[in-house]
């Protein structure tokens, strides 16, 4: 049921992360010629920085390659900044910072999330202590092998702090980021494989392992990799004279404070709403929830619909999502757009 491509059936996709790219791929299949607006200078979003994806340890690059191959011929405008948007006819006119004006009949907001700035949790010393890094830094190291914080083979004790900037009212984000528990376990296993002699501790508040194969990951981490799990939030991190980090937490299951000296501490920085949501919401006239994510028309039946006609959402623009959820939502949004445009 491919439709004939016409100039005014154009759809603008804001954000060239996996949600935007997947939606673009589906829209192309449906016969549209979407334009992708990306604020940074490259496509792929956060997944482009990731090494492997749980639960099957699929290389992130494979997913991205598939997506970029399928959207290869599309027009992607990088470093795009939507200055204003106005209703024009049955569509919208988007004005970019460089004066480019794009007329589209539907907009897909796939702006994703921002990674919580771990520096904000000052007590964890990210950016201050030599051996504290984030989950994103670790993925970068998996990809490139370059990080001053991991030197040589002498990494014998590693800690993972779950919920950094998630479920933390003081850090301005009360939401669970959904993926950090399983990411921590994934990364802990990867580290154990790289440093088999290492002892690894995961400090968690709750383990939220809801997805397919996640529990297997958890049991595997315990049984096969001997990773230790301590139920308790890290309260403070210090640095000792050797530059190692001393982590203090309460083992809430034991009811006692614990202290451990580590060679490396990985902070599982959570997902927070995209910092640029606000200006975009203002430009497009969209609602923002208290958590800073875009407000869907309905959180059960129409997550991908906005309050405004012709504007749709996909992926983490509306809240923390896993990769498969994001992809599914992107496909769903593409169908919604198709239905919307076909009905006009």
């Amino acid at each position: 049921m491919a439709k004939k491509k016409t100039a005014d059936t154009q759809v603008a996709i804001v954000g060239a992360g996996i949600a935007g790219l997947e939606a673009a791929r589906q829209l192309v299949r449906l016969g549209y010629d979407p334009v992708i607006l990306e604020k940074s200078d490259r496509i792929g979003g956060h997944v482009a920085d990731w090494h492997c994806l749980f639960p099957d340890m699929t290389p992130a690059s494979r997913l991205l390659d598939d997506l970029t191959d399928a959207t290869h011929d599309l027009r992607v405008i990088c470093r795009a900044n939507i200055v204003s948007a106005g209703r024009l006819g049955d569509g919208y006119n988007l004005l970019l910072q460089d004066g480019t004006s794009i007329h589209v009949r539907a907009i897909l907001v796939a702006t994703g999330f921002s990674l919580f700035e771990a520096e904000k949790k000052e007590e964890y010393g990210y950016g201050v202590y030599d051996k504290v890094m984030t989950n994103a830094d670790l993925e970068h190291w998996f990809n490139t092998g370059i990080d001053a914080r991991i030197t040589g083979q002498d990494v014998r004790r590693i800690g993972f702090v779950h919920c950094v900037g998630s479920r933390d009212v003081k850090a301005g984000n009360a939401q669970c980021s959904k993926v950090c528990c399983i990411t921590a376990i994934k990364q802990a296993i990867e580290m154990k494989e790289k440093f088999p002699e290492a002892e690894i501790w995961c400090f968690y508040m709750d383990l939220r392992l809801f997805g397919k194969k996640y529990e297997d990951f958890y049991i595997g981490a315990q049984r096969d990799y001997g990773i230790h799990f301590i139920r308790g939030r890290v309260s403070e991190v210090s640095e000792n004279i050797d530059g190692k980090v001393i982590v203090k937490a309460e083992d809430t299951l034991c009811g006692k404070p614990v202290k451990v000296t580590l060679d490396l501490l990985v902070l599982m920085a959570g997902m927070v709403c995209n910092r640029d949501n606000h200006p975009l919401a203002q430009a497009l006239g969209l609602g923002i929830d208290e958590d800073g994510y875009f407000r869907s028309k309905d959180n059960i039946a129409s997550i991908t619909a906005s309050d405004r006609k012709g504007i749709f959402y996909a992926g983490a623009a509306t809240g923390p999502k896993t990769v498969p959820e994001t992809l599914a939502e992107a496909r769903s949004a593409a169908l919604d757009i198709h239905a919307y445009l076909s009905a006009q």
Binding site: G127, S238, E239
Partner: protein, 356 residues
């Protein structure tokens, strides 16, 4: 430790401290523990640097000790605070500077509480009026005395006679800074540099040539804990906290500890003696302890004020090793000579801790 990382955090916690016209409120206990400190605060800020700092003899306790010992309710504490504000209003000042960290915390806590619950402020105004027919304006700015010295650290550095540098080796002295808990742990934005890496004292030490040590237990409380110390049965717990700090800083071989709280220097100083008696362990070089100074005393030393005029002979831990390192000239014989060369008597010596 990545210094730039700390600076980045400090930049988030800078206060615009007014440069002049302060109403000074003293501490209950500092005058007896470290009698030179408050005297020289005024001496330095008012007389040397020429700032307008006013104090009144009508000032009383802020109620902090009683409040933190669970002896009086918060409403009472707030009413006492309101009276201090009324004294300030009466004297025509808008900026309050407290000598005591607990007072500072108490003032800030009171103001923040009133901000959240205005009805409490109304109640306290009523209480104050009923009690002593007084009225007050809220201070525009509340600072701690160390904030002021921090602000004037550059001016002091310009007039410095000595620097925090080992005059023989030229190496910077290793300085441990200890911030009173009530300074910024309750309201990080009210302290210079926040709660995790406060820079109010480290800023002074660095401005005067010293090198700050970040040891693992730097955040830890000195152990005073009000109730913990005041009840004798709990004193071991109080001391254990201090002990934990010393054990943690020991590997860094600090030359001096500076503090900005009335209780902390007292406990960090006196417990060194008790710990040495109980465990046989001392933390300084050659059997000495680590000298513990208030920021005013340190400023005084840097400015070349005679150590015995600063009251350093009142300290349990001998300060002479520090004076020697800084190259400060002093008369050992004058150590126990008081006003008008009156002999204030040399105390008995501890069995373990070396004091002379």
């Amino acid at each position: 430790m990545i210094y730039q990382g700390k600076q980045k955090i400090w930049s988030d916690y800078q206060k615009e401290i007014p440069s002049d016209h302060w109403f000074y409120v003293r501490s209950c206990i500092r005058q007896s523990f470290f009698p030179g400190s408050e005297k020289w605060f005024l001496g330095i800020c008012r007389d040397m640097l020429g700032h307008d700092i006013h104090e009144t003899e009508h000032h009383t306790t802020c109620g902090g000790i009683a409040y933190h010992c669970d002896v009086i309710p918060q409403e009472t504490a707030m009413t006492i605070v309101a009276r201090q504000f009324s004294l300030m209003t009466e004297a025509g000042y808008k900026n309050l500077v407290a000598s005591c960290i607990t007072s500072f915390g108490n003032y800030i806590e009171t103001l923040e509480t009133w901000r959240e619950f205005p009805e409490l402020e109304a109640k306290v105004r009523e209480n104050l009026w009923k009690a002593c027919k007084r009225e007050f304006e809220r201070p525009e700015y509340v600072a701690h005395a160390s904030d002021l010295i921090y602000k004037y650290r550059g001016e002091i550095a310009e007039r410095a006679k000595y620097r925090l540098v080992n005059h023989e080796t030229g190496e910077p002295l290793r300085v441990v800074e200890h911030i009173g808990c009530h300074y910024s742990k309750m309201f990080p934005h009210k302290g210079v540099g926040g709660a995790e890496y406060p820079c109010v004292l480290s800023g002074m030490a660095e401005a005067w040539g010293g090198q700050i040590i970040d040891y693992p237990e730097r955040r830890h409380c000195c152990g005073f804990g009000f109730r913990q110390y005041l009840v004798k049965a709990n004193r071991g717990y109080s001391m254990s906290n201090t002990h934990k700090k010393f054990e943690s800083m020991e590997p860094y071989h600090p030359d001096v500890i500076i503090t900005n709280c009335p209780g902390c220097p007292y406990f960090l100083d006196r417990w060194q003696y008790v710990i040495s008696e109980q465990t046989g362990k001392t933390y300084g070089q050659n059997g000495f302890g680590i000298p513990v100074l208030t920021y005013e005393e340190l400023a005084g030393l840097v400015l070349g004020i005679d150590p015995w005029d600063l009251g350093l002979q009142i300290h349990q831990v001998a300060v002479e090793p520090l004076l020697d390192k800084m190259g400060i000239e002093y008369d050992p014989k004058a150590k126990y000579l008081g006003l008008n060369e009156k002999d204030i008597m040399k105390p008995g010596l501890p069995t373990v801790l070396r004091c002379c």
